[in-house]
């Protein structure tokens, strides 16, 4: 079975969350930025459930 660097995956996900939140904050007032950032953040939540939440158990 293939192995993955879960720490690195988690780190990238964490950075993506920070970036998406910054993007949303910077674009405040531009609906096209705020709402699309919300969608990105929802997808990031799913990545967290798939990877980040499991990391402490591995």
């Amino acid at each position: 079975m293939q192995t993955w660097n879960i720490n690195e995956l988690d780190e990238r996900i964490r950075k993506m969350r920070i970036l998406a939140e910054e993007l949303k904050e910077m674009g405040k007032g531009i609906q096209a930025v705020e709402k699309n950032a919300d969608r990105i953040l929802a997808s990031i939540s799913v990545l967290e459930l798939n990877i980040s939440d499991v990391k402490p158990l591995l």
């Binding site: 079975m1 969608r39 929802a42 997808s43 799913v46 459930l49 798939n50 990877i51 499991v54 158990l57």
Partner: protein, 445 residues
């Protein structure tokens, strides 16, 4: 097993003890979230003298008060409209409205933020990927999409996997069959009743053999237990020349269980996103051993918008107690949903599950796909009436067929039945959830 067989090989092969650790952590999180954000849950727990901090182990989960569907209907009378004060997010953050089918009463409205809807569809992606859906598939959904949640999750999940998805909404059955043929669809999602009905329509109205003339090679079923009833599954697989897989879900918490390509005679529980408990039907005590039927209590571990914590589903299931050759560590339940706690009833002192009747009827080739069962009282004695149809061309053998049917029913259910034969095609056909079992002894039935 190749890693590519899994949607998420990390979660799906996580050792069981670690899955339990993950479940406990998530359970505590959703409990604290609901207590902090949902007036309904806060009220429920305060009235019971319970606090989220009381849960320290998975055994402690049983301390948490359960929720029933009637409570969801009641809370809908409160603000915010239309969900009630179970809602644990701001109303303006809700982006998805769905509702239950209304099979068991007034529909329950379900809300999702986009985050929760992403999770809802992610759970479906686990299902479809485990059943072999890939980016090369062209998936047809022969269903009138509407306010009921059915197949919306499957549609979005198939897109996420990369499949082409064809919404077969307002077309009639014959038009759907022809569209599937024209587009060379390779997969389909539908209720078992409709899967059988489509094959029959294709045969009778279009002169087509769907196994030969269509390219559908996998079918995902929902809404009814048929795909876990061996005789019904066999009928569908033979009619379509396709693998038929079951899955179980509900509007209020999503798709929590699924059959994998190994078809192990049971369904995997998605232990990473749901906590499933089984309780004895009479004593309410927890059932952890395999083979014993009980009522499912479910928690959706990540659902924040309208949390679902220890919901009494009334679905009757049993643990399988074996591993699956697919390599998933997600636990197996044997034979899918065996019935509803409301439907599994004592007749003449014997516990009767409607799926046992279906297994017998559908195992007799000369009988049609449709049937109906009504239990009533004749004086002090329970009476079971079973309505069936005999296929055209088999009428001459009716006496032999009915003798076999009665013998098999007696053998499999330990009960005697009155049988009525109806003209072929005259019993009701269902596109959504079939209601074939009626207990007329109950008030309002």
């Amino acid at each position: 097993m190749d890693d590519r067989a899994y949607w998420n090989p990390i979660l799906e092969t996580l050792p069981r003890e670690k899955l339990f650790d993950l479940q406990l952590r998530k359970f505590k999180n959703i409990l604290h979230w609901s207590y902090a954000h949902s007036p309904f849950y806060r009220r429920l727990y305060k009235e019971a003298g319970f606090e989220p901090g009381d849960v320290r182990t998975l055994d402690d989960v049983r301390l948490v008060p359960k929720v029933e569907k009637s409570m969801l209907r009641d809370t809908q009378q409160r603000d915010p409209f239309p969900y009630g004060d179970i809602l644990a997010v701001d109303l303006e953050d809700v982006t998805v409205f769905r509702q239950t089918s209304g099979t068991t009463g007034t529909p329950v409205y379900h809300a999702c933020t986009w985050r929760d809807w992403e999770i809802y569809t992610e759970c479906w992606a686990y299902i479809l990927y485990a059943q072999g859906y890939r980016a090369t598939d062209r998936v047809f959904v022969p269903f009138g999409y509407n306010i009921f949640v059915a197949f919306w999750g499957g549609h979005y999940a198939a897109e996420k996997i990369g499949c082409e998805v064809i919404p077969g909404g307002v077309l009639d059955t014959a038009a759907r069959v022809l569209k599937m043929q024209e587009l060379k669809c390779t997969a389909m999602m539908a209720t078992p009743t409709y899967v059988l009905g489509m094959a029959e329509t294709a045969r009778n109205k279009l002169g087509m053999d769907v196994a030969r003339d269509l390219q559908v090679r996998k079918i995902t079923c929902a809404g009814e237990p048929g795909a876990s009833v061996p005789a019904t599954k066999k009928r569908m697989e033979e009619a379509w020349g396709a693998k038929v897989y079951d899955h179980i879900g509900a509007t209020e918490w999503g798709a929590w269980s699924y059959e994998c390509q190994a078809q192990p005679g049971g369904l995997h529980v998605n232990d990473a996103f749901f906590l499933i408990e089984i309780e004895d039907l009479e004593t309410g005590k927890p059932i952890t051993e395999p083979g014993k039927e009980g009522k499912m209590i479910i928690t959706a571990l990540d659902q924040q918008t309208k949390p679902c914590i220890r919901f009494d589903s009334k679905d009757v299931i049993r643990w399988a107690g074996r591993t699956c050759e697919c390599g998933r560590t997600f636990r197996l339940i044997d034979g899918g949903v065996i019935g509803r706690a409301d439907d599994i009833t004592k007749v003449k002192g014997v516990l009767l599950a409607p799926t046992a009747i279906e297994e017998v009827v559908r195992s007799i080739r000369e009988l049609g796909d449709e049937y109906e069962v009504a239990v009533s009282k004749k004086g002090e004695i329970d009476d079971i009436l079973l309505k069936v149809e005999v296929r055209p061309g088999c009428e001459g053998e009716q006496s032999r067929i009915l003798t076999r049917l009665k013998d098999q029913l007696r053998l499999k259910t330990n009960l005697g039945y009155r049988i009525e034969v109806h003209p072929f095609g005259s019993l009701p056909k269902y596109e959504l959830k079939a209601k074939r079992f009626k207990d007329l002894r109950k008030k309002g039935a």
